[in-house]
Every structure is written in structure tokens, then in C-alpha cells.
Symmetry: C2
Subunit: 345 residues, 2 copies
Amino acid sequence: MAEATSRRIRFAVIGVDHRHIYDMTGRLLELGHECAGYWTDGEPRTLAGFVKRHPHIPRVADKRRLIEDPTVALILTAAIPCDRAAIAIEAMRAGKDVGTDKPGCTTLAQLAQLRRVVAETGRIWSVNYSERFEVAAATRALELVRAGAIGRVVQTTDLGPHRINRLLRDAWYFRHDAVGGILADIGCHRVDSFMTFTGSTDAEILHAAVGNFANPDDTDYADYGEMVLSSPQARGFVRLDYYTPDGQASWGDGRFFILGTDGYMELRQELDIAGREGSDHLFVVDNKSTRYIDCHDAGLPYYPALVADVLDRTETAMAQSHCFKVMEIAMQAEAKATRLGFLAR
Amino acid sequence: MAEATSRRIRFAVIGVDHRHIYDMTGRLLELGHECAGYWTDGEPRTLAGFVKRHPHIPRVADKRRLIEDPTVALILTAAIPCDRAAIAIEAMRAGKDVGTDKPGCTTLAQLAQLRRVVAETGRIWSVNYSERFEVAAATRALELVRAGAIGRVVQTTDLGPHRINRLLRDAWYFRHDAVGGILADIGCHRVDSFMTFTGSTDAEILHAAVGNFANPDDTDYADYGEMVLSSPQARGFVRLDYYTPDGQASWGDGRFFILGTDGYMELRQELDIAGREGSDHLFVVDNKSTRYIDCHDAGLPYYPALVADVLDRTETAMAQSHCFKVMEIAMQAEAKATRLGFLAR
């Protein structure tokens, strides 16, 4: 294990099947932590990008070399989603903490097993809800909400458009059993945001639907999803899609509206269409003024906090119970969703 | 009756209890039509503003003088919402067409009677869904959607914040029986937009809720509402509130997002927070580009079309069936809504 005195850890990567692994790895390297190596199954389309960004990280042929390495404290995984739970469980049973790409698992049975293994081993299982952890505007907005800037939060509306990027995706991406479905996969981000910004520790899915309206040949793939959430604290609406057109500069014009009794906020996470340059746009309207807030110094506290948790056995990056609950709710939404369009055939 | 050859009509106003009557009257006057007079019950807070804008319009003591005036073709009403149906029915039975502020009625029983009277008399009953009829950006957006600019419309998300403006409101405004509820009152605008922009002739309410989270002393008043709509064509989400803070320049930062399979649009109807000056902001993103569209020349076709319909006995301003169906759906949503916050006590 890494020595707590140095505050540096060694980590390893198991599965690079989603591009999120580029930044998950990169953030830890930027913080000065060391990657012992990576393993991945076969030659996913994402592999070249990983090697290009991180050419110094050695590939190993047997993932047990990494999982059993006594100098490795943390395993990162962005394997095919349905395989992530088994990798996490193997790693935790070998004494490692785990940082996993979202969705952290794809079935409620996997989640139940993950909860048991965390309870048995005392290890950390942390899902990278990157729509919050990788967005500086979310860091700043959360500080403001928690300081009471807009009064009581009554509702959040979360629009999550994505580009389908078919040529960058491996075949598994279009299989429901591999991904867990649109509400579980990209929906878990939004469940995390709803619960975090409204201060909710649980939520009920009042309504959920998934559909395929633009990809009739992919009969197992949802290109659209929606859900309505409710907690004792607030209400939430989430809309997800894969229709981002080619005339748009980012992978998706994500918006997050936070409605309070004394004001509201809007996050334009990726871009400000026909407006300002760059990302991380935050607008705040309260009883005093309407203002644009620069968030570039807001920071991304997740990764440093995760490493501190690994070293100190704390839960500062995210409560373990929240991490589980978000995946549980997202998968419940997926399970109860009405199937629309080509999915209903 | 006005002579069709001149294309001018005479109209009258019965009830000025909502500020919408200022513009309803003003638009017809701007088009060169003549107002025979107005009647209103008592001294509503809105009266001074009406007289200030339209000082030449005579007040009459008995509304029957206007309803029975053979030179008057059209009655406008912005009476207290629960009284509008009776005024409309009296006017139609006297041979007049009716242009009513929204909501056009407050109960399903009133609506059934309105449908019968329209069928019996052949008169026009037109509800002023002003979030579309008074918004030039909506005119232009609808042209583009109908021309196929963003492919198949899959979903609309409609955020309708309002300032409570307590000092401008009469007491009836806070009584459910007078207004019909938030989903019926300001929700009918959004049902109209959903159906119009998605090309739907009917819709189902999948989910609805109303709440009071900021006005605990007004135990009959909802300051929050939400609904999920579904039609064979598309899905819709609507969120309404009365939390617009004082630091915001308009009565409400309305947003309308239209999601298509080949692109999307955003309307910022009233203002562009911390952005461009003025109103009627339309953003279009398609497979070619992301662009801001100036809508100031788009026009507001509703009032000229309504007058043409009065003269020609046509339905160009709005199909009568659509006008009824919108109110029906909005009132159904109100009836089935879960009651939250202080309303749930």
C-alpha cells in the first residue's frame, strides 16, 4: 500500500472500454499519483486514445498482476458496464478501493452484491458521477446552493443531450444488457445531481420512460429517456437523448436548472450556444441581481478527496450510502420505464 | 354586425380583472378595429392600468348594453376566471364571437357547456394562449419546426416561471375556485405549446403535481406545478412557478426547448439572462450550425386571423377543437395533480 505520510498512492486501470477512463486516469496523474499499469480485454476502439494520452503506462496481460499488486491502493475501471461490478468485487476482495466509471453496475443483483462486499471488506466503491465531479460550474453552484443563495430548492430540471458518436462506439454500446439502459447509464449522473443539489438522501421515481425514435435498426438501444423524481426535499425532472446534431460544438448542450424559493440558477456545462466561449457557464438570479459567474477557479474536489479517503478511510469525496443509492434509483427508473417508439415494437 | 367588406369590426370588453386585457384590447385597436366600450365588476386593481392605456374607451354600467349591441361582433373578456365561461355563453347566445383570456374556464362542467353552446350557435370561442400568440419567437420557431428544421419533434420542455406580484393582484387570485389552479391557469399555455409544436391533436397527462412551498399563509394557492404529457407524436414536460426573484428584469424567464431527432431549438421568450437585450430570443441547432435567430419581424398572426375568422366564419387563428382540447387537458392535469408542501396539510 502507498504510505499515508507521502499522501501519494499507486493505482491501476482495469478496462478502458469507455473514454471516461482518459480523464479518470489523467486527473490522478495530474495530482502526482502513480499508475502501476493497465489491463483491458481485447482491442476496444477507445484503446488508441488511452495509449496516446498515457503512453508511459504499461499494459499487463493478466489483470491479476494489478489486482494482487501490494503497492496498488486503488483500482480504476471503465470496462464494459456489465463487467464493472465483478471487477470491483474482485478488487475489493483483494483489499483495493475502487473508482469506477458510471454506471457502476447494470443490475440490482450486482448492486446488492457490491453492498455486501463493501460491508464485508470496508473498501471504497466510488462511482464517477462525472457530470458533477468533472464540472467546475457544478462545484461553484453547489457551494452557492448550500450557502442558501436561492432559498429552499424546490425543483431541478436536468437536460442531458449526447452525441451518439456511432463511429467511436464498440458494438456493446448498443446492447441493453451490456450498458444497463439509458436511465441507468447516463441517468445516474442526473440522479446524483438531483439528490446532491436538493440535499436528498433518497428519492422515488414517479415516472420514467425510455424510447428509440431515431435509430430503428438498433432495436435494443434507447436514444431517449425521461424521469420524474421526488424526495421529501424537492422534485426533479431529467431528460436524456442521443440526438446532438453535428452543427453543435460539444458532445452535448447539458443544462441544469435549480429552482429555489428565492432565486434560481442555470448551468450550461459544456457550452453556451451562440454565446460565450468555453465551458462551465453559471447564471445566478436572486432577489438582488442577475449575474454570470466565472467558475474556472472553482476546482474539482472529487479526485483529491477520493485519494484522501483511500489514505484516511474517510468518506469526504462522496458518502458511500449516496453512491449506492444513486445507482439503485437509476436502475429502478430503468426497470419501471415505459418503452416508446421503436423499442415498443 | 361589422361589414365584411370593410374588414373592420367593432368589439367590446367584459371584465378587466387580469392585465392580459390591456394587450388583448390594444392589439385589436392597433389593427384598426373599434372598441364599443367596456364593462367590469367593481374596481379591480387592474382597472387603472386599463383606463390609462385606453382612456377613450367608455365604461358602461350594464354589460348587456355591450352584449346586445348589434354593431358589436366580438366580446373580449378577462373577467375573474371562474366567471369567464358564463360571460362567453351569454355573449355567444347573443350572437357574438368571444375572445377570452386564459384560462377560458375553470371547471370541466363549464367546458362541456361551452362546447354545447358553440355547437348550438356556431360562434367562435377563442382562448388567448398568449405564451404563443404574443411571442414572436414562437411564431418563427413554429414555422421552422413545421418546415422540418429539426426533424421529428420527440419532446418539449417548458419552464414557466412567474413573478407573484402580490401587490398587483386582487384577492381572488389566491383562491383555487376563482382561478382553477396553476395547471389550468398558466398551465393551459404550455399544453397549447406542447400540442402545437408536436402536431398533437390530443394528449394524455402521465403525471401532475401542484405545490405551495413559499406562501404558507395562502393555503388555497399553488406556487408550483409540474406535468408530463404524452401524445402519439411526442412527450412533454411542463414546470410552472411563482418564485421569480426581484433581481430579474422580466415577469418570468420562460424557456421552451424543442428536441428533434435532427436538431433542437431553445426559446428565451422574455429575456436572455446576463445576455442579449430585449425579448424573443430563438436559438436553433441543427446538423449544419448553431445560430441565434432574430424574430422581431416574425409577427403575431393570432389577432388578424381571429378577426378574419369572425368575418369569414373560418378557423384560421386556431382550430376550435384544439382550443377546447387544450383547456380540457389542462383541467384534467389540475384535477389529477398530487398536492405538495403547504397544500398537503
